[in-house]
């Protein structure tokens, strides 16, 4: 009994803070999504599910969801592939691996605003990318990258991938180091090398890291705001609008706070569904003894 009181006493402050700062606002968001509210006074009108009905038929919102999903697939694949390569390179002993590990984390230390400005400079029509293309005789490839409806979202995706790779490389690096040495040695003795070893040993054994990384990636991409807002403002003509830039527009530009909260709930639902789906599909450790006996 005394022990329980002790535990509760220590847990209570954290739980209370979590309740006050996370759960209560989340609940409030749900409540406000049922109101028409301009967010400039306390006056609100209850509209029930109207905001959600409007949301379901809102092509601009659906486009932003699609853009988020494209970012998730496009940037996600690049991020995971590149970070795996970087993780492998940095797992090797030696100074250059250490140096690379340091370098890969540099973007993480830069503020997102600086990342956006940097990539804006690169993608500027007079910027680094077009200058390089012209320099190597590929003038016909030059574009107004961020002003082109076919490339703006990809441009944001590239900036996001550049920023995020270091973090995921760190995650995968830790995962690689966690693969028992005897497994690697056994693989080596059995003559498993290169791609075969990666596909048969490393990739399956990275299961728990993979699961964390992908879930994290989903949350990250669904929360994309600053990069888009700063690089393209969702343009041209909504080509790179994401759920959160759309939310911002509804709340702070159009003064539709109730509707914006419904967008937030929609965003939460999409992220939740995707995360749960990932946890479901990756629920079994392919390397666990139980699985192997089943197989």
């Amino acid at each position: 009994m005394k022990r329980t009181g002790f535990i509760v006493g220590f847990l209570a402050p954290a739980v209370l803070i979590y309740l006050a700062l996370v759960l209560v606002p989340l609940g409030q968001a749900l409540i406000f999504s049922a109101y028409q509210w301009r967010g400039v006074s306390a006056k609100r009108k209850f509209v029930g599910a109207d905001n959600f009905r409007e949301l379901a038929g809102d092509h601009d919102f659906l486009r932003s969801v699609t853009n988020n999903l494209w970012l998730l697939v496009g940037a996600g694949v690049v991020i995971i592939a590149v970070s795996l390569v970087v993780a492998h390179l940095t797992a090797a002993p030696g100074k250059s691996a250490k140096l690379l590990r340091g370098f890969s984390l540099v973007p993480q230390m830069v503020s997102l605003v600086a990342v956006a400005v940097l990539w804006q400079f690169i993608f500027n029509p007079e910027g680094l990318l077009n200058a390089t293309l012209r320099g190597v005789g590929l003038s016909s490839w030059t574009r107004t990258w961020l002003g082109d409806s076919h490339f703006a979202l990809a441009g944001v995706g590239v900036a996001f991938a550049w920023y995020a790779v270091g973090f995921y490389a760190l995650l995968f690096g830790a995962g690689l180091r966690n693969i028992p040495a005897e497994v690697n040695e056994a693989a080596e003795l059995d003559g498993s090398q290169g791609w075969h070893r990666f596909a048969q040993i490393t990739w399956p054994m990275l299961w728990s890291v993979k699961r964390t990384a992908i879930t994290y990636l989903v949350i990250n991409v669904m929360n994309t705001f600053a990069l888009v807002f700063l690089m393209t403002r969702g343009g041209p003509d909504r080509a790179s609008d994401t759920m959160l830039t759309y939310l911002y527009e509804q709340a702070f530009v159009n003064s539709k706070f109730g509707y914006a909260t419904a967008v937030a709930v929609g965003n939460f639902a999409v992220a939740m569904i995707l995360s749960l789906a990932i946890l479901f599909f990756l629920r079994r450790d392919p390397t666990s003894s139980q699985n192997r006996s089943e197989a």
Binding site: N124, N223, A260
Partner: protein, 448 residues
């Protein structure tokens, strides 16, 4: 990861708004305020947008005003994104006494929600110098921009003029003159292009610069004020009228002929304006804040001069027509010391203070006579154009119907990207206007 923090930042903001949304203090009716007879005392809090003109002039005025009223404690604060800070305070019913919430505050929502005091009683009292009423000291064309249903809620301070800019040094050197008509513009653009300079650049990420610098002035030039008034008043068909279509076709023509800088469609305001000040582009449509906004990056040899958007030969509109804008000041309905707020602003808009602002900040003011002095060089063409203008108007559509404006801006970008024809562009504009017309939750306004 910072993405998450970004989300938290927004959530926190929303939470702070939500959290403060309980009983909104006293739900006072819109009481008129503004008696000058009352002794001013207590605290006077002023919150202002810290934009290109800074806060120093407001702070100075506050200090001077405080010295005149020893029982009054004046506090002036500001921020470049002050509108975000003011929203939760307005919701909580604890706003400042005088506020200048900046360009991104939805001021019409504030009026709709009864958050602002009507100021007509105060305006009908004497001006700061005692000569005539305070109302008479403002330019009536500008004052009317803050009115709804005959009541004045928003007071103007500085006046922004919209037009085009060129570098007189570059033009003189090349023997060019600022084009007065669209035909002259086409001829000039060809000459500029031949020199290897982009004739016109524009703030592609913010298409309203082009809407206010080309589309609407040209529609007004072609169809007269009726064309743009009808568009602003959401008259069915007005956004796809012949005037709007012709104006859109002109933009498309400039684009197709390569007179608009390649790539500008993806540029932010600062990127494109930098192209202009560095001489990579010869002209740019922009408001009167351009010189102060670009002060830090303008090479010492570069100069910039304002001119009115070229008009269309044979158009119905008067060639002197001028587009202006204001960023208004206001008194919140829940202000604790509204009288003091009003009196401070009356002092700020007195002729000597207005002239001081003109001189220090290089902008025109909404106060009559404030430009009767030796004006800073950069203001001379703007002031002359404003004085000569037979019609002065403002694009209020952008602040009234933000969702429609966003649609129209998106459509303009698509036209510039060659994805829409001018006809498809105006059809989309009309569809955006139609959507707003049908949406009963959006309050409707009329150009007065």
């Amino acid at each position: 990861m910072k993405g998450i923090f970004q989300w938290f930042a927004i959530s926190a903001l929303a939470i702070s708004v939500v959290g403060c949304s309980q009983p909104a203090g006293s739900a006072k009716a819109n009481e008129p305020a503004g008696s000058t007879a009352k002794e001013l005392k207590g605290d006077l809090e002023v919150v202002a947008f810290k934009g290109g003109y800074g806060l120093d002039q407001y702070e100075k005025a506050g200090k001077e005003f405080g010295e005149k009223h020893p029982d009054l404690k004046v506090k002036v604060t500001g921020d470049p994104r002050v509108w975000l800070q003011l929203r939760p305070r307005l919701v909580a019913g604890t706003p400042p006494d005088l506020m200048f919430p900046g360009w991104d505050m939805d001021v019409w929502a504030l009026i709709e929600e009864g958050q602002l005091k009507p100021l007509d009683e105060a305006l009908d009292q004497p001006a700061a110098n005692g000569k005539g009423t305070w109302r008479e000291s403002f330019d009536p064309n500008v004052l009317k921009l803050g009115q709804k249903d005959g009541k004045t809620y928003l007071l103007p301070y500085y006046v922004m003029t919209y037009g085009w800019w060129f570098d007189p040094g570059v033009f003189t050197k090349n023997g060019w003159t600022a084009p007065k008509t669209y035909a002259e513009l086409l001829t000039l653009c060809e000459k500029i292009k031949a020199k290897g300079i982009a004739p016109i650049t524009y703030q592609g990420q913010y298409p309203y610069y082009m809407i206010e610098g080309m589309l609407l002035p040209w529609a007004a030039s072609i169809g007269g004020m009726e064309a743009v008034n009808d568009a602003q008043n959401l008259v069915p068909g007005a956004w796809k009228s012949d005037a709007l279509l012709k104006a859109a076709t002109m933009i498309d023509e400039l684009n197709k002929k390569g007179y608009l800088q390649a790539g500008a469609v993806g540029m932010s305001h600062t990127e494109s304006q930098t192209q202009f000040v560095n001489g990579k582009a010869a002209m740019i449509p922009c408001g009167s804040w351009l010189p102060s906004e670009m002060k830090e990056v303008t090479p010492p040899t570069a100069k910039m001069q304002f001119f009115l958007p070229p008009v269309v030969d044979g158009g119905k509109g008067d060639p002197s027509t001028m587009l202006i804008g204001v960023e208004p000041w206001m008194i919140p309905n829940d202000a604790k010391n509204p009288e003091a707020g009003i009196e401070l602003f009356r002092y700020m808009t007195s002729l000597p203070k207005a002239k001081e602002f003109v001189e220090t900040k290089n902008t025109l003011m909404a106060i009559k006579g404030s430009d009767e002095m030796k004006l800073p060089e950069v203001l001379v063409p703007q002031s002359a154009a404003l004085k000569a203008a037979k019609t002065v108007w403002s694009n209020q559509f952008r602040s009234w119907y933000k969702a429609a404006e966003k649609d129209i801006e998106g459509a303009l970008t698509s036209m510039l990207n060659g994805e829409l024809t001018p006809q498809q562009f105006v059809d989309r504009c009309e569809a955006a206007a139609e959507k707003t017309r049908k949406d009963s939750s959006i309050p409707k306004y009329k150009v007065s």
